[in-house]
């Protein structure tokens, strides 16, 4: 404005400068926080896993360990608990092989467009169950899906299901056959197991309570 403003509140120059300062400050704060967050969410190492040092996102070799999700009194919500070693598809995976498997699994999860039906870490489509803690889902642990697929372990049952999902319907809304190969299915299961070990600040809350509640039928039908 060429004329002098009556008050600073009607001065374009004042608001322009304020906008620039506020935007700049917010941006600098965001960048600073991003550096801190990146440090906290980079993947841990295999050595740390063996020593029991916790990382928000563990190394790919977490697939060699038992993963659970338990209430933490101090934090007031559930957190992933990495337990004893357990075999994954009948063997222990080296750091290199586990990383390669996770890489393949993550790529496959994108190539098959999982996210447009399912949610991952709660983000995605809302047409199918959330996969954040799918590895820990009662459905795979209570004998339902191992029984239906005729497999001995849950990882094998998951892989079999992923390869031929519409052969094992559990609901009118089925997962379509996406041409997932054996290798891709194994890699996807590793990706899901790894995701279940991510510290999500307690999301989802009271996960899979339904397993206990639904014994003997549900109130919803």
């Amino acid at each position: 404005m060429s004329k002098k403003s009556a008050s600073v509140w009607t001065s374009i120059r004042f608001w322009r400068r304020s906008a620039a300062w506020v935007t700049g400050t917010a941006t600098v704060l965001l960048i600073w926080l991003t550096f801190d967050t990146m440090g906290q969410i980079s993947m841990g190492s295999d050595a740390d896993l063996a020593k029991g040092i916790k990382h928000r996102i563990p190394a790919a070799t977490v697939i060699n360990y038992h993963v659970d999700y338990q209430f933490d009194q101090k934090r007031g919500h559930e957190v992933p608990v990495i337990g004893e070693k357990e075999k994954f598809f009948g063997k222990e995976w080296s750091a290199k092989d586990a990383a390669a498997l996770l890489h393949h699994g993550k790529l496959t999860s994108q190539a098959k467009n999982c996210m447009n039906c399912h949610t991952l870490l709660g983000n995605g489509g809302y047409y199918a169950p959330d996969l954040t803690k799918a590895w820990l889902d009662a459905k795979w642990n209570d004998g339902t899906m191992t029984g239906i697929t005729g497999k001995n372990t849950k990882e094998e049952a998951m892989a079999e299901f992923l390869m031929h999902p519409s052969q094992y319907p559990t609901h009118a809304r089925m997962m379509p056959d996406l041409g997932i190969t054996q290798d891709e299915a194994v890699a996807l299961v590793a990706f899901l197991k790894h995701m279940s070990a991510i510290d999500t600040n307690g999301f989802p809350r009271n996960f899979s309570q339904s397993a206990k509640r639904l014994e003997g039928g549900t109130h919803a039908h």
């Binding site: 374009i12 608001w15 304020s18 906008a19 935007t23 917010a26 704060l29 965001l30 926080l33 967050t37 990146m38 906290q40 969410i41 993947m43 928000r56 996102i57 790919a60 990383a99 890489h103 393949h104 993550k106 790529l107 994108q110 190539a111 467009n113 999982c114 996210m115 447009n116 039906c117 949610t119 991952l120 870490l121 709660g122 983000n123 995605g124 489509g125 809302y126 047409y127 169950p129 803690k133 799918a134 889902d137 559990t170 609901h171 009118a172 809304r173 041409g179 997932i180 996807l188 991510i198 999500t200 600040n201 989802p204 809350r205 009271n206 899979s208 309570q209 339904s210 509640r213 919803a220």
Partner: protein, 485 residues
């Protein structure tokens, strides 16, 4: 929208081309949405032929792309008005338009006919990247960056050459951020938390920061253009909006970092700043209505009846002012606090907010820009609403509101039963999906989707015909007046 003979600048004609493609993609978006809505009710519909993952992917991609087209079109349209200059690299701009349109067509055909690929890099490069909203394969990402560079050069160079208004200053600065942010969503990582961290930089810093500022800029331009609002007042408001939108929106990003593996401090940061996000939306609402009332008052005191020279556009700008506040502001605030979001995250609540916000904040103002474009194309002095304009407004607004309410109810069922009661998981999910009230809500969503689609047909029909009808009317009135004199 069929011809643009009255436009003096090539830049504005190019803008109209962008609007035409945007309208086609808008229609495609709604059709895909209808298919996806049917699949919720009848899961066998097109099963293993055209699955939900595909219909939804095309639904949300068509949405993003039609909006980007309409946004680019709006900028090319306003450049000559604001700067007083023809766009500098208009030849290059036209070439970029055809390249982009050909690329979009190829991407969509691949989505529809190839759908998914093997789990390796080739799929990410050539079929789809499998990241919600940013599914475009990498070759297309690179192409988009090239086209956007041409576009940005055109905007920046013309701005530097011509008159530098406050509106264009905000536009140039904001577009720089908007275009640059796309780069943060273009890489692959095995770490899904890092993946989603940067994914949100694109999604959130687009729709809750730079796109909102873009809307503020368009609203400012539209108010000057439609009601002759005083530029100094409009531009002052615009800077206040930039301050509030970026002040709340940039750190409001934190509300996406509650549950993806990121540290707890995002709870407080996200809660605080995203709770402030509705404030500028209230301001924008007040601003539009206040300026309109003020100019109308001036007109009435001078004895002329109507301050508007384009009532269809103004109706959509008003719908924007209200819809932005309601859809983005209120529906966003509903579930932005972590205490609530732990139950609502990943439910139909998000879908309800998404529908209301994308429509209220963006679709509305972009439709207004299309009407401004039609007015210019046919050289209409005072454009008024036709029956079709009113049908489009009524049916689309009623339809989208209806979908929003239905999805909110569906989300409410999910939150209470699937999440709070049963704690999520496979069984809990399907139990909630089978609740009679959930299914009823999905039924209403489909019905309201059909209403929206019928409204769209009126809208397209109106945009295609209103120019010819009203310019002929003005001509005959002019001739009659001349004959009488």
């Amino acid at each position: 929208m069929l011809i643009n003979g009255e436009l003096k600048y090539e830049s504005q004609k190019l803008g109209m081309n962008y609007f035409r493609v945007a309208l086609v993609l808008f229609g495609a978006q709604l059709l895909m949405g209808l298919i996806a809505a049917i699949q919720f009710l009848y899961p066998g519909f097109l099963f293993e032929i055209f699955d939900f993952s595909v219909s939804r992917m095309v639904h949300i991609n068509a949405l993003v792309v039609w909006m980007l087209y309409a946004m680019i079109g709006s900028v090319y349209y306003m450049i000559p008005d604001e700067t007083g200059e023809e766009t500098v690299g208009i030849g290059l701009g036209k070439l970029a338009f055809w390249i982009l349109t050909a690329a979009v067509a190829v991407v969509v055909l691949v989505y529809i006919f190839i759908q998914v690929g093997p789990g390796n890099e080739s799929t990410i490069w050539f079929i789809n990247e499998g990241r919600e909203y940013l599914e475009a394969p990498r070759w297309a990402d690179i192409g988009i960056v090239a086209v956007v560079l041409v576009f940005y050069y055109n905007v920046f160079a013309t701005y530097m050459k011509g008159r530098r208004t406050g509106i264009m200053t905000v536009m140039v600065a904001n577009l720089f951020a908007l275009a640059g942010l796309y780069l943060t969503g273009m890489f692959f990582t095995d770490n899904i938390s890092v993946d989603q961290y940067w994914w949100w930089w694109v999604i959130h810093l687009w729709v809750e920061a730079t796109w909102e500022v873009f809307v503020g800029t368009l609203a400012a331009y539209a108010l000057v253009k439609i009601i002759g609002a005083k530029r100094e007042i409009v531009e002052m408001w615009l800077w206040i909006e930039v301050l509030m939108l970026f002040g709340s929106g940039i750190l409001g990003l934190g509300h996406h970092y509650f549950w993806i593996g990121t540290p707890e401090y995002w709870w407080e940061i996200g809660a605080l700043f995203s709770s402030l996000e509705p404030v500028p939306l209230v301001a924008m609402f007040v601003h539009v209505l206040y300026d309109w009332g003020k100019e109308q008052g001036h007109c009435e005191s001078k004895g002329s009846a109507h301050a508007l020279n384009n009532s269809p556009a103004m109706a959509w700008v008003t719908a924007n002012a209200f819809g932005n506040f309601l859809g983005a502001g209120i529906w966003g605030f509903f579930h932005t606090l972590p205490q609530v979001n732990i139950y609502t995250h990943g439910t139909q609540f998000t879908a309800a907010h998404g529908h209301l916000a994308f429509f209220g904040a963006y679709a509305t103002i972009l439709i207004a820009m299309m009407y401004i474009g039609v007015q210019g194309s046919y050289g209409i002095k005072k454009m008024t609403m036709t029956f079709k304009t009113k049908m489009a407004l009524t049916l689309i607004i009623f339809g989208v509101l209806g979908m929003g309410v239905a999805l909110t109810i569906a989300g409410y069922e999910q939150v209470l039963v699937e999440r709070a009661d049963l704690g999520g998981g496979w069984d809990a999910y399907f139990i909630a999906q089978d609740l009679p009230w959930y299914i009823q809500a999905q039924g209403w969503r489909l019905a309201m989707g059909v209403v929206t689609f019928v409204g769209f047909i009126y809208l397209a029909w109106d945009l295609l015909t209103i120019g010819a009808v009203e310019s002929a009317q003005e001509e005959s009135e002019g001739a009659a007046a001349a004959a009488a004199a």
